[in-house]
Amino acid sequence: MATKLKEVDAVIVGLGWTGGILAKELAEAGLKVVALERGAMRSTDKDYAVPNIRDELRYVVRHDLMQNTARDTLTVRNNPSQEALPMRRLGSFLPGEVVGGSAVHWSGHTWRWTDMEFKVRSPLRGALRQELHSRRHDHPGLGHHLRRARAVLRQVRIHRGGVWQGGQHQGPDPARRQPVRGAARARLSAAAAHADPGERDVHQGGEEQRLPSVPAAVGKCLARLHQSRRIEIRRRASIAAIASASAARPTRRAARTSP
């Protein structure tokens, strides 16, 4: 039976990169947000830290972050004459679960685009090259967006989990970063020396290019907003509940804020 949920300003289906950031932005703008996510709630400090995240059987072999095909799966057939059968063993197609979405599944981190990614078409396409060069295309006005994303996502610092050295467990402590030595350190210092607050930080090399994951960063923001009751996260929501919640009109705030 469909569950009738309380009406809210915005309902977000899927709390991954996109949904997570949207939920954060909307909630901070004062909207009452409900986010729907399938699968278990996972926490950064317990589930994504050493040693549990090193459980290869659980995650790599048995796909613990992916859809439980015993409970819920797709049916597949290779041609119309076959009978479509449920897919019970996951292969290269990995439909995911858990709060954080694909930001979790692709190892929980993502990287800044390099300069080259904006240029890559130019060397490859002669005719297009002329046209592209007539515009500014290196990182067309994206600098401040990238800086903002980094500021949001770095509210929780990048960390590498606990480190075992000589039998001594150091961490896991998000605040403690492993010292960078040798060539890597020289590279980082050089990058820092050349970095200015302008567009150039887009190209800054080394560790700083890596953005932390949604569960590590937006997840933490969401948890804070969740505590202050500005976001409600619903898990394992049935389709009926989603349909009913989606009917909530996201226009109430406009009405409320008008004089």
């Binding site: 050493v50 040693p51 090193r54 459980d55 059987l57 606990g162």
Partner: protein, 81 residues
Amino acid sequence: MALSSGKLSFDNGLPARVFWTTLYQTVMEGMFSDPIYGGNRNKAGWRLIGFPGAIAVHRENVEKYRDKKFPADPVSIADMS
């Protein structure tokens, strides 16, 4: 050989490939999974192949022990918890 290539068949049983795949996977899990699952007792499987276990960072050791025997005891999840 006959099993893994699917040439052998069972009367009224599983397809041989399915049986083989399951058997192989189960043996591998028993040998090399973390001991919390009940196999790989005393990390014997890991010692056998020189696997360091559930440590966070291994890259220094990769260089240090290239072509040499890795001397340290493997670390399991329970050891770290």
